[in-house]
Symmetry: C2
């Protein structure tokens, strides 16, 4: 179990870097760059060349010894790994301020994420129009997810109701939860959870500021 | 250099878990739990007991063999590590939709982050009131940061202007940047950067959904 966790962590770290590789490669492609060496690419991305090669070797390499990487090819392969070549249908649960922002910005760079519906349990919010979506009542959620092949539920509701809503989603065939609620969710293996805890991120920043001060005091 | 990167990555992984430890310990404290074994705490947190002990040993341990952890003491020590016992003054740069949301929710659980000002370069936004803060013009930013001992700048501006604004902040004595702009920033060592790329997070989720399907197909 400890070994499995170790392996799992390593692959998570690599996966964490893939979206960043994709971002840089998309910019290079847009700039008309056709071919790039691992040295150049790693320098732009501020990782070591060996780190870059090691990361990409996990997925079969993609490079030709001495010829570097074909930018468009590498970009497409990473996009495929990240599932960016398929459409992904989403619902947002929680039509509050944050849900609204996500609704308006969901299709990041046309990356294939398609918002299909927004749900809320507040009578004052149900029926209102958010960016072309009429907010639906929570009691319609399960049927909607089943009938519209929804893959991902985006949770932007308070933590008090997040666990109950997530549990209700277990039986709908949903594949993933993008969780902005300030609590960890306990889901079965067939439902992937990605947590976004903004306050955790701010605390990591504060920690690193503290550390820098300690190491450079006096 | 490769070794340094390795060490740095390991410690980043531990740091990443600290805010989560803090969240769980705060809940336990609120629930009146005074003492907890590493086995119980690790089970609640879904890490192995050895992982938990290993993580905490990096900071001196905090536990007594056979007695487990004193919840309040451990919570306070982790809060101290994360710099939560001090006040941190922030400014938000970018008074758009996302800046507004952050402004209203900045003081997560009274964790010591204090918003001191909001800046924008849009004449239509400057002078408006966001949650009690009158939005100031960008040309006042540098003086304001210096005079008000601002530690952290929160960037919620488009990526086109993010790099220039970040570079301008280098000479103001700022300690950290919480970066919501969709670009990586290249800052000197004395300025810590924490990036929040929401689309990267959504892509990681999409990757894990894909992987699960591949491994459980047919």
């Amino acid at each position: 179990m400890s070994n499995n966790e170790q392996e799992n962590r390593i692959s998570q770290a690599i996966v964490s870097r893939l979206p960043r590789y994709l971002r840089y490669l998309t910019e290079l492609e847009t700039d008309g760059v056709e071919r790039i060496s691992s040295r150049e690419l790693s320098s732009i991305m501020r990782v070591t060349a060996s780190q870059l090669r090691q990361d990409l070797n996990n997925f079969g390499g993609f490079g030709q010894q001495g010829y570097g990487y074909n930018v468009s090819y590498l970009r497409d392969e990473i996009a495929k790994l990240l599932g960016m070549n398929d459409e992904h249908f989403l619902v947002i649960i929680g039509g509050g301020r944050f849900g609204k922002i996500l609704a308006k910005n969901m299709n990041f760079n046309n990356s294939g994420f398609v918002l299909k519906g927004i749900f809320d349990n507040d009578e004052a919010v149900i029926g209102t129009d958010i960016d072309g979506h009429i907010v639906m009542s929570m009691d319609k959620l399960s049927d909607f997810v089943r009938e519209n092949r929804i893959e991902i539920a985006v949770l932007t509701i308070p933590k008090e109701s997040a666990k109950a809503v997530a549990n209700g989603l277990c039986r709908t065939g949903i594949s993933g939860i993008w969780n902005f609620s300030h609590t960890d969710l306990d889901m079965p293996d067939n439902i992937q959870v990605e947590n976004v805890h903004l306050s955790d991120s701010l605390m990591r920043l504060s920690y690193r500021i503290n550390e820098y001060r300690k190491n450079h005091a006096g």
